[in-house]
């Protein structure tokens, strides 16, 4: 755990793995909930870091962090979010080729994986989901699409993501969902918040 000061009121805590990020994020939320964390404006987990902003005394927290024992991320007893997917994406065949298998097997392995929302970014409600083992990580497309349809289920690097709205994007599109990823009238507005467990449930595709 390596804390780096960010400006006057921020702290970027570097960690060695996504698992450590998940564990520290859970511990920070636990301490914030029971009132033992100093007041903080933002807690933003990412790939290998947790960023805290709005701290009155970041240096004080650096000293305190050194005394923390961070347990592994506790088992999530909330039900997993289920996202129904039509595995009909234009890049499904390309992903199958990269995985050296068939499109049917891509569907089976992807929908058989338990994902976790590692962090959000890119757009409100866009979650970076981890869970696929390293041999199944795929590169982005060489040429990003200017318009990826809302609800597209996509892969890039270690991550799966679902586009909460139509936007440009370079990820490999393997399917689509009608799930509402972002609704400002809902609490929380994002369906996929950091730490959430996710399953993708295949729908019959009418081909």
């Amino acid at each position: 755990m390596r804390p780096l000061p960010v400006g006057e009121h921020g702290l970027l805590i570097e960690l060695d793995s996504a698992e450590e990020v998940g564990a520290l994020h859970a511990e920070l939320l636990r301490r914030a909930a029971d009132g033992t964390l100093p007041p903080v404006g933002e807690i933003v987990p990412a790939a290998r870091t947790v960023f805290l902003d709005g701290l009155a005394d970041p240096r004080g927290l650096i000293a305190e962090l050194a005394t923390w024992h961070v347990p592994p991320r506790p088992a999530d007893d909330r039900p997993a979010v289920e996202i129904p997917v039509r595995y009909d994406g234009p890049d499904l065949a390309d992903v199958a080729a990269l995985w050296d298998t068939t499109p049917e097997e891509v569907v089976r392995r992807h929908s058989g994986t338990t994902f976790h929302v590692a962090f959000c970014g890119f757009a409100p409600g866009f979650g970076y989901l981890t869970g696929l083992p390293e041999p199944l990580h795929v590169p982005r497309r060489d040429t990003p699409r200017t318009k990826v349809p809302v609800g597209s289920v996509a892969l890039a690097g270690p991550y799966t993501g679902v586009y909460p709205r139509s936007s440009p994007g370079g990820w490999q599109l393997i399917g689509t969902t009608d799930a509402v990823l972002w609704d400002p009238r809902r609490e929380p507005a994002a369906l996929l918040t950091p730490g959430t467990r996710v399953h993708f449930v295949p729908l019959e595709t009418a081909r």
């Binding site: 890119f122 409100p124 866009f126 918040t193």
Partner: protein
């Protein structure tokens, strides 16, 4: 029956509804948004009796004009500009009573870029995550104003607080940006860091509410490649592959993978909202507060 609303007569180059933004949602990928010139937004509200949380209009470059449907107290702050009510000159930086049906026009600034227009009662568009601010990165909040658009106004809060002297911002002839180094200054060579503090930079015309871009000598990197995405603060000096620092403003993305060489504290950001393209930029390194031990040497 009241009809508390205003109709947009001239939207200007880019006029948005802004308030103090929606901090606290970065972990969902939601930018904070909000007025780029916070002091101007707060002052405009104070002059018309609003709390600082009330929504104002933030103009860009060419001002804007609106017709109020009921008599309303209005104040224009930020970039100094000619103010008229139905064509008659009215004061900048002071409460102005605008009669029902009259057009308030805030013109092209004499200097600076963004003026703020506050209306007694505030702009009363719908809140999203506790804020009415237009976020131009993610599209949350009301769309930028268009000619003919109608915006609701809230009920006035009460008589304005007295203001004897209103600070008149001087022109930003040189944008001085004090910064604290890090968290990724080690990604740059010593020469690259010297370039940041000694190079001649200018505000790029490609700047917007997301970031103030610069033109100048590129910063030399000690490490190539990108970082895994990490959280990004307001005021970050992010350096993309072209080597030219981008100062992250209120609509900045919440995460990013280009190294942040330093961070400009929020209290120094308001002048960045008023620096027109071409303005010289100077980055000044702030020392970290020395420890006690360092003091006792």
């Amino acid at each position: 029956m009241t009809d508390r609303a205003l109709a947009v007569v001239r939207a200007g180059a880019l006029t948005t509804v802004q308030d103090l933004g929606r901090p606290g949602h970065a972990h969902l990928g939601v930018p904070r948004a909000g007025a780029l010139d916070g002091p101007a937004h707060r002052l405009a509200n104070r002059l018309v009796g609003n709390p600082e949380t009330a929504a104002t209009l933030e103009t860009t470059l060419t001002g804007c004009a609106v017709r109020v449907r009921t008599a309303t107290t209005v104040a224009v702050t930020g970039a100094p500009c000619p103010v008229t009510v139905d064509g008659r000159p009215a004061p900048w930086g002071a409460p102005v009573r605008v009669p029902a049906g009259a057009v308030l026009d805030a013109g092209t600034p004499v200097h600076g870029l963004r003026s703020h227009l506050a209306f007694a009662g505030g702009i009363a568009t719908e809140q999203v995550l506790g804020s009415r601010a237009a976020d131009l990165l993610s599209g949350l909040g009301p769309a930028p104003l268009t000619d003919g658009a109608v915006l609701p106004l809230g009920d006035p809060y009460g008589p304005p607080a007295a203001a004897d002297a209103v600070p008149h911002p001087g022109p930003v002839t040189e944008l001085c940006l004090p910064f604290l180094p890090g968290p990724r200054d080690a990604w740059f060579t010593g020469a690259g860091l010297r370039t940041l503090t000694t190079g001649r930079f200018r505000v790029s015309a490609a700047s917007n509410r997301i970031g103030l871009r610069t033109e100048g000598p590129p910063l030399e990197r000690a490490r190539t490649g990108e970082l895994p995405s990490e959280g990004m603060p307001l005021g970050a000096l992010q350096v993309p592959p072209n080597g030219l620092p981008v100062l992250f403003l209120h609509d900045h993305p919440t995460t990013g993978g280009y190294p942040v060489v330093g961070v400009v504290p929020e209290r120094f950001l308001a002048p960045a909202a008023q620096a027109v393209p071409g303005t010289p930029v100077r980055f000044v390194r702030l020392g970290r507060r020395p420890d006690r031990a360092a003091h006792s040497q």
